[in-house]
Amino acid sequence: MCSNRASRRIRKLLSSSIRRKILPAGYPNSHPDMFWTYPDVKRTNGTWPAASEHHAVYGNRNWQRWSRHYQGQWRAGIDNFRSYFAAVRHEIGKGL
């Protein structure tokens, strides 16, 4: 997952206005909080995954907000966007 293409995409994302929403000042020492998906992601039975029914509009899109928090888990100096993406993948993969 650490291909050049992936890191170019991450850099592009970092330089965009979305960065300000996802990443707090002081990242990567300071950790991101929650994540957002567009379009909506639901369970196969049509219900919302846990703590993810809230929505917020950014950049003319209505994003689904996943209330996931990293208190006590973020290792400053080690963790970065890759770990954040891995955590997002893991959360979505749970299907809960």
């Binding site: 970092l14 960065r19 300000r20 990443l23 707090p24 000042a25 002081g26 990242y27 990567p28 020492n29 300071s30 950790h31 909080d33 928090h69 990293y70 208190q71 006590g72 973020w74 290792r75 400053a76 100096g77 080690i78």
Partner: protein, 460 residues
């Protein structure tokens, strides 16, 4: 514009050994350097030493050397690929300290090629080594002219500074007692240094006064807070009537009042602003005297990215029902190769996060605090002047040791712990944790990148 080169000790030693490997024969190497460029200084930070050897040496004697062009083309390619600058080093075993007339002719062509082949914004340079140390150095500019390198820094177990443009530095008589301790060279060195101080509260104001009295030539101080009358119990140079003045103004006034002619620059903003911390790129060393984790986390990164050592300090008085349970102080030397504050467990991501959010948007942070997503603000910590002073003095002592070696050549510790309530001092040396950026040499001397320190910044 001042031009300088920073080496990490292990690279400098490898280079010196290579250049001295065949006594009486000229040797050469290429250095791949990243650049840190401010309005007053272009600093090249050495990241890789590429010795010229084997079949790339077509001929060499005590006073000349012929090198195959493929060897420097390869080095230039590497510099270009790594968005770096190119530095050519060769030895003069015959004892001639300067660049020779022959060097002038050959380097003009070499550096013209460097500017054609390397797209990095920055400058390229050349050094002459004699008797294991740099004796002459210059930067080649894009227009084909050259300018002398002013200083070489070697950062490691000891900090060495080599000044290539010999200047007569007059030592005022005020420093007589100090010269009797460390000798005139150390006094001259102090006069040439620019030292940063981050935070001028209890420890920082004491560090500032000591640096001025030691005879440090130039000091840069940043602090975003105003002085409060309740700080007068521990802030040097402060008076009750100074309430509401920026703390940096008090430090500036104290420095000027001492009257040693110290150049003092102040910034009345915290280093959590990119514009402020980037000014510290002009320093030779920095004292971290802030008590916030957001600022400390940035200094931790800064020390590694720029190879500018940071002496970070803190004092913690643990008191219950107005009875002291413990008093601990700490001076940690941050630089590439030593464990950073993250590795030492001295920073918590939650607190950095909370402080950063409060700095950017206090109202939104208060809501998050209410909801329990960020830790609550703590009450002001106890602070008492003899303890802040002891730790500040210890930090300045560490700095003097790195310059002079007065604590012994075999000393390896990068942290001093003061167990003040036990009248004990301990030292330690900790290596970086697996996976931490501070132990990964790709971050050592990474210098100027966008975004600055690969970090997201609060709006200015």
């Amino acid at each position: 514009m001042r031009y300088s080169v920073t080496f990490f000790e292990r690279d400098f030693n490898a280079l010196s050994q290579h250049l001295a490997a065949t006594p009486g024969l000229e040797q050469a190497a290429y250095l791949v350097c990243r650049a840190a460029i401010t309005s007053s200084e272009a600093r090249l930070i050495v990241r890789d030493v590429l010795p010229v050897d084997g079949t790339d040496i077509l001929a060499n004697s005590s006073h000349h050397m012929k090198i195959a062009s493929r060897s420097f083309i390869r080095a230039m390619k590497k510099a270009d690929r790594q968005k770096s600058c190119f530095l050519f080093v060769h030895s003069h075993p015959d004892g001639y300290p300067d660049h020779s007339a022959q060097d002038d002719v050959e380097e003009r062509e070499l550096f013209s090629t460097a500017y054609n082949r390397i797209r990095t914004a920055g400058v390229h340079a050349s050094l002459v080594f004699m008797n294991g140390a740099p004796s002459s150095g210059r930067v080649w500019l894009e227009d084909g002219s050259h300018v002398s390198l002013e200083r070489i820094r070697i950062i490691g177990n000891r900090f060495r500074f080599i000044f290539l443009r010999q200047q007569q530095v007059y030592i005022p008589e005020f420093f007589d007692r100090q010269v009797r301790a460390f000798g005139p060279d150390v006094q001259r060195l102090l006069q040439e240094l620019r030292v940063g101080i981050v935070g001028v509260g209890g420890t920082g104001s004491c560090v500032a006064e000591q640096l001025v009295r030691l005879g440090v030539g130039s000091v840069l101080i940043a602090d975003g807070e105003n002085f409060e009358a309740t700080n007068v119990n521990r802030v040097y140079g402060s008076r009750v009537v100074d309430a509401d003045l920026p703390k940096v103004k008090l430090a500036e006034r104290m420095g000027a009042d001492i009257g040693l002619g110290t150049k003092i620059d102040v910034i009345p903003k915290p280093i959590t602003f990119e514009s402020v911390l980037s000014e510290f790129r002009t320093c030779d060393v920095i004292f971290g005297c802030t008590d916030d984790e957001f600022g400390r986390s940035l200094l931790t990164r800064f020390a590694v990215y720029y190879g500018i050592p940071v002496f970070d300090m803190g004092v913690k008085i643990h008191s219950e029902s107005q009875t002291v349970r413990s008093i601990q102080g700490r001076v940690t030397t941050l630089m590439p190769g030593t464990a950073c504050l993250n590795c030492r467990g001295r920073l918590l991501s939650e607190r950095i996060n909370a402080e950063a959010r409060r700095a950017v948007n206090p109202e939104a942070a208060a809501e998050l605090e209410e909801e329990g997503y960020i830790p609550e603000l703590e009450d002001p910590a106890p602070a008492v002047v003899p303890f802040t002073t002891a730790v500040a003095a210890s930090a300045v002592g560490e700095f003097l040791h790195r310059l002079t070696g007065f604590l012994g050549d075999d000393r390896r510790s990068s942290e001093v712990l003061h167990l003040i309530d036990h009248t004990r001092i301990r030292t330690n040396h900790v290596f970086p944790r697996d996976g931490c950026f501070c132990g990964d040499a790709t971050f050592w001397g990474r210098a100027d990148v966008k975004p600055f320190l690969d970090t997201t910044w609060r709006p200015e």
